[in-house]
Amino acid sequence: MSAQAANAPAALATESATASTATKALLVGAAGLGLTAVGALLGPDKHGVVMSYLVGITYWTAIAIGMLLLILIHHIVDASWSAVIRRQWEHATQAFTWLFVLFLPLLILAWVKPGFIWPWMNEATPLHGGHGTVGTDVLYQKKSGFLNLGMFTGMTLGFFAIWIGLSHLLKKASVAQDSDGDTKWTFTNRKLAAIGLPLTALSLTFAAIYWVKSLEYHWFSTMYGVWFFANCVRGALSISVLIMLWLWTRGDYKGILNTNHLHSIGQLVFAFTVFWAYVTFSQYFLIWNANVPEETFWYNLREVNHDGHTNQWWYVGLVILFGHFFVPFLYLLSYRHKVIHSKVKPIVLWILAIILVDVCYNILPALKDGHGDSLPFFSLNLLWVATSVAGIGGVCAWAYLRSFPTTKLIPIRDPRIVESLTHHE
């Protein structure tokens, strides 16, 4: 079987269609980012806008990390069925560069106005309840070797260096194989995966600690990195399903994708639904059962106000419990719900939405009023979350679509590509 030139006019048409979609995505991104910027500069609550932006960047970075992990896992286990989707992950992880650019404003803000986002960055930040300032807080003093601006900046630059580096190297070897069909690229990527997995695991853990957990720097939980990992992979799998459906509808994946690919990825979405629930339940349950104030305060902020009244976050927590676990779990038990396009699409969209709520639940209660109570979930901040997510998401989609036409749709010379094309149960 010899390689033949693709149908040129059809290919050109697809290419221009992709380009116009990319432009649209970039416009959405620019609009979202513009609105967020307007809010940050002119809005009444600048702190809320910036925190919402942190939600957006954490959300999309998590998904990109998930994609990177999927590529790494694909290579390390010498997987077969996922070969047809792997190229899309390789395109999507190109967004890391732009995520880094979009993270820079937060980094600059941290230097210009320390303590504005992460309270521990400024020793003069007062503690709630009149317990002095961060600088006089013995808990901060003990952690200051880790929680300081220099470490934060260096580590954040390091995380992005790891992610950008890995995603470029993985894609480079994969694309190179398309032209020469040499198996050495497979081994290159396998070695990269062996080194990349521990690096990614550590970097995502510390990113979760620095960016999210340290917003409430008194609180600690060894499970936190695992929780973040579960959301990363789940988000990435859900986006992958959407990409598969989109490319199918557009015609690219016709004759390539079959029901079993959707079934397999659906099973992974299901498995990570259970894993997420397991991790999140374990963390909550251990803290609930031990009932030690130095840990429970984090959940108390998300349940009751200082006067004992239940706040909105309590209900958000319930929505997460049911929406993040029970609904997808029961829904995805069915085989049909994993493989019929119109049935699987709503649930992955739902999962993507609820991951966002979960990220909000972890970040936004750090916004507090004068009593030290968390600001309610339903507020103007939701608007800024929406603009940030749309803005950063638009840029990510643009980065993906920009990379998309530069290579073959599938890794045509991958040693496992035929196994993947003929994937059966």
Partner: protein
């Protein structure tokens, strides 16, 4: 060369598909036939009992007698014969319990998780690994059951109405353990039995043909009249995959609940949220260590190199490496958060582990669990079967010490310095634990003598000649 057949509407890109050639490892070496597999595996059971089996069996029985003696002495005297004393009221009993339960987990993992992930290489090792699970649960159960002291009241653990009218305390993680371990034992036996069903039918027919009516009757009794009907296979396979599907969350939950025994408490070094997945990873790690320890000699004595190939050993080494590294991640996370949490008691617990009176145990644990598996990065190590076997022993030792370190170091330095102590096991404890290796070996030897050590039906299904498609796509 493999090629793809396409419908007329197939996209142009499929014309360009031309995979680089990188053959997958064969799972059954030398292109063995179906009947070769049947003869090889049944031959182990039908042949004469080898002399080495008897020697091993006698030694194993002797070792097992230590457990029996230790337990008889305990029941006759009281739990005080073990070395527990304030402040270390939990020690070897629970260390050994968690150790054995953890060993069992690789069996379920190989059967269930690898089945769900369609890792076909599991077929050579899953039967023996499942047997290992059951025997490990038996060894594990000995310790908590006898630790209750008056074992004739052990049924109080279950919610059976009794003359005291009160019920079990369902707020206690120990009560959850009762349900977790008994469910685990039951489901493991059922899963194992369902897997054995078709193979028992093979043995039934072979003993019948050989004229051994008695053994044919016994195997036939348990084969339930299995005839290889595809209408049966269809439901059977569905049931099997469901059992695999529920065994996966089961195995995770069992070690999670075991970790709850510690993590729901308030003790520094025990109360940490990462315990559930950390314990599960550790359990899988120790279990694979034990699978390697058992399977490598078995492969050598029965000449099973065509069924447990170098590829299988590679896979097991890599899983050991991966889970060992996850365990390393958990150790570092615990240490880091102990510092980051800035709780002086938590911090002390960890400094004390690494540099206190039990530092020797801690560094044995780190060496065996984090450093040993790193050797599996190297192909030359994985290819050296003897070395792999030795390293697998280190893994077993390391995981025993992990539980010892977690349990004893935290208790020996509790909140009240005046009651601090140093725990040493009594001779009765040492005997009882030593003997469980004999109990385990006796059961395992009986298993390899009387039951098929590998699932014949599953092995046949992964041979190339079993594939009805032959590389062509029919979907």
């Amino acid at each position: 060369m493999a090629h793809v057949e396409h419908a007329a509407s197939a996209p142009a890109i499929l014309q360009e598909v031309k995979p680089a050639v990188l053959p997958r490892a064969v799972l059954v070496g030398h292109g063995r036939s179906f009947s070769w597999i049947t003869d090889k595996i049944c031959g182990i059971i039908e042949g004469k009992t080898p002399a080495w089996w008897w020697w091993c069996f006698i030694v194993a029985c002797f070792v097992a007698s230590f457990t029996v003696a230790g337990l008889v002495y305990l029941v006759a005297t009281g739990v005080g014969v073990w070395g527990h004393a304030n402040p270390v009221n939990w020690a070897w009993d629970i260390v050994n319990f968690v150790f054995w339960i953890g060993i069992g987990h690789a069996g379920t993992l190989i059967s269930a998780i690898l089945c769900l992930l369609r890792q076909k290489w599991r077929t050579s090792i899953n039967r023996a690994a499942e047997a290992m699970t059951i025997f490990a649960v038996v060894c594990a159960a000995i310790f908590p059951v006898f630790h209750v002291g008056r074992i004739w009241y052990a049924w109080y653990l279950f919610p059976i109405p009794n003359s005291n009218i009160i019920w079990q305390n369902f707020r206690s993680p120990l009560e959850w353990d009762v349900f977790a371990v008994s469910t685990y034992g039951t489901v493991s036996v059922l899963f194992w039995y369902v897997g054995l069903l078709p193979d028992l039918a093979v043995l039934r027919d072979r003993f019948y043909a050989a004229g051994n009516k008695f053994r044919s009757f016994l195997y036939g009794l348990f084969a339930l009249g299995w005839r290889g009907s595809n209408r049966h296979w269809s439901n059977y396979e569905m049931a099997y995959i469901i059992l695999a599907g529920i065994s996966t969350p089961l195995v995770l939950s069992v070690h999670t609940i075991v970790s709850f025994d510690f993590a729901v408490s308030l003790l520094p070094g025990w109360h940490t949220t990462i315990f559930p997945p950390y314990f599960v990873a550790g359990a899988i790690f120790s279990g694979f260590g034990m699978v390697l320890t058992l399977m490598l000699p078995l492969r050598a004595v029965y000449g099973l190199e065509d069924l447990i190939t170098q590829y299988h050993i590679d896979c097991m080494c890599k899983i050991t490496l991966a889970t060992g590294t996850i365990v390393g991640y958990a150790y570092s996370m615990e240490f880091f958060i102990a510092w980051y949490g800035a709780n002086p008691y938590e911090g002390f617990a960890f400094i004390n582990r690494a540099f206190g009176h039990y530092a020797w145990a801690y560094w044995i644990m780190i060496t065996c669990n984090v450093i040993t598996p790193q050797f599996f990065w190297f192909k030359s190590v994985r290819n050296n079967t003897a070395l792999v076997w030795v390293l697998s022993i280190f893994v077993n030792v390391g995981m025993w010490f992990e539980r010892f370190v977690i349990i004893v170091t935290s208790l020996a330095r509790d909140f009240l310095p005046s009651s601090w102590g140093y725990y040493s096991p009594s001779i009765v404890e040492i005997f009882t634990f030593f003997g469980t290796f004999g109990v385990f070996s006796v059961l395992f030897l009986l298993f390899i003598r009387f039951l098929p050590v590998m699932p014949m039906a599953e092995l046949k299904a992964v041979t190339p000649q079993a594939d009805v498609h032959g590389g062509h796509d029919h979907h």
